[in-house]
Symmetry: C2
Subunit: 370 residues, 2 copies
């Protein structure tokens, strides 16, 4: 069964839109002109096919193209290549929808944990998850572990590395992962809680495999991945691994350019919802409305919807709005997003280190109020 | 020594531009508000510093920020995270310059081969390189090997996989790499030539290390990498490996969104020149002016300049314009780009399979004409 991608196409009229859609069908697959395509399997199956095309607004058309699972193969990187590899470079083409179809749904099962699995792992059957962030960059591993202990002792559901903690000299990946995992385990032992530490995957390309195993052995409770920098394939690789058995949180760094242009790139919901989920993320971080990034409420809700829709791909996942979150905003956020949300708590929590427990408790109260 | 990044910033006036630059200095490093930054090393070194700021045009400012090498660490992915991780998501911020400084220049030495090294490897001391592309997707490994043999016999300098050849069932990575390497070796033995086959790196994340070694053992002459999908870290990893000792060609797929917006993203020269070179690419593919992509002559020349400037980072590399190239255009391209260029030849070459040798010979004559 073929999979399909819906594109928004800038064109003066339907005939031009159809020409452009036919161009996409070639560009994303065979990458040769129509008269050069070999007859048979390649012409009949490999070349993309226009399933539907119609006007959306003045100068804007919407075209759904179907592709063969053979084009995508078994790697999420190659699937993204078919969805938007070369077309990302052309003007006036935006990805606004994706449907895997049965064949790719089986090949790309998506999140290992999903919302229910992460809730079970964190011992939080309902209500928003509270996720304080370990930072700033430049702190040593011991200082980060001390912070993590405070966060976990205060009842955080997840404690995550800032996405800027890589493998720097001030807090090398392995030292950090070991010390923070131990600090969170100690807090859990004392409180009876199940706070999970998500380590930011780092290291040079050929160190990452070893670092994944090291992190799992050190007892991390999940992994943070930046797919814009390390590739969506790393998310797929972790989600597929029963022996690691770790949930994945994805971070949007270096992906912002995909959502800057109205008429090109990838829509917010597809980029931060559908594609993260397709790759296997259990939690997708994105910039919340009202913070220091420019996302609108509608864009954030589109992301949350794509993360949680029962239609897939794969299990529903947590949307995780971040950027300028604080207990003051928790009630409004709960009203906007509902229950199944993982809230990042960043700089606001670090402003008063002696009040970390109070702040997290205050946030918990607001999120748990019916 | 600190490294520096120059941003174009949308702002109403200099005061606002300065505020935004101060925001970038925090966002790209500590990611906490200024009053939360710990005094000492983190405040003094880790937080970005504004080196220079000034007006560029109405509503546009240019700010150069310096960062500590400690922020970047030793991984190109984390360096890109500092350059543009979260700032990619904010409105009106564009990366238009990068200077590594001595510390990062030593950590990130760039291309292993560069222009001179690739020329030596291909036995082409001067003149443009001719690089036919193996496609379309859907052909089997034997058919691709037959094409590669024809290209190599005709005197191609490099024969490269199309970027859409991954690890699909029709031509699995290892089978394809083995058969094409053998076909090119056979042609070289017959002609006395030194055509190099560049295989497109594919496979699931945890198969890639093994596939690199497999490809080297099979006798490939270089590797094609899609950093937008597999990460710039993979380029760094290959370039750093003396035992592989293979040149890297990078492909722009999935990077197009970075150059779609006038006031955000990354400038053409920095994205397809400087950053590819920094990561370690020897040849950078980008869409040529006049093809089916919308790049202007000025944008293409900016890329070529960034690829070849003696100022670094690292050795000068080949710009490789592609998309709709043919012998008819070769003279104009030679006039525009000069000598040190790798020309992709795609669909036009496949239109007349019986004339492949003539077409490549015609292209060679034009490129070699003084």
């Amino acid at each position: 069964m073929r999979f399909s991608v819906t594109y928004r196409i800038a064109a003066a009229n339907l005939a031009e839109a159809r020409l452009r859609a036919e161009g996409i069908a070639l560009e994303q697959t065979v990458e040769v002109p129509a008269d050069v395509v070999p007859a048979g399997f390649i012409a009949d199956q490999i070349v993309g096919q226009i399933v539907e095309i119609g006007a959306e607004a003045e100068g804007r058309y919407r075209a759904t193209l179907s592709y063969s699972p053979e084009s995508a193969g078994f790697e999420v990187a190659q699937l993204l290549n078919v969805i938007f590899g070369n077309s990302s470079i052309q003007r006036g083409i935006k990805v606004i929808g994706f449907a895997p179809g049965a064949t790719l749904a089986a090949r790309f099962p998506g999140p290992r944990f999903g919302i229910a699995g992460v809730r079970a792992a964190c011992g939080r059957p309902e209500g928003g998850l509270i996720v304080p962030v370990l930072k700033p960059q430049g702190l040593g591993a011991d200082a980060l572990a001390t912070l993590a202990y405070a966060f976990a002792s205060a009842g955080a559901d997840i404690v995550k590395d800032d996405h800027g903690l890589a493998d720097q000299t001030s807090a090398p990946f392995r030292e950090r992962v070991e010390k923070i995992s131990a600090a969170v385990a100690r807090a859990n032992a004392e409180t009876g809680g199940s706070t999970r530490y998500f380590a930011n995957v780092a290291g040079k390309f050929d160190q990452i495999e070893g670092n994944l195993r090291f992190a799992a052995d050190a007892g991390v409770g999940g992994l943070l991945v930046i797919p814009g920098l390390l590739g969506f394939g790393l998310v797929q690789r972790i989600a597929a691994d029963a022996s690691l058995n770790l949930p994945v949180m994805t971070h949007p760094a270096f992906l912002g350019s995909f959502v800057q242009a109205e008429d090109s790139g990838i829509s917010h919901g597809v980029l931060f919802g559908t594609l993260q989920r397709l790759a296997g993320a259990d939690i997708s971080v994105f910039p919340n409305v009202g913070g220091r990034f420019g996302f609108t409420e509608a864009e954030c809700l589109a992301i949350a919807k794509a993360c949680r829709t029962p239609d897939g791909p794969g299990l529903p996942m947590f949307p995780s709005p971040g950027g300028g979150m604080s207990p003051d905003r928790a009630a409004a956020m709960r009203a906007m997003y509902g229950q199944d949300v993982a809230y990042l708590l960043g700089g606001s929590l670090l402003r008063h280190p002696d009040r970390i427990a109070d702040t997290i408790a205050a946030m918990r109260r607001v999120l748990d109020t019916a």
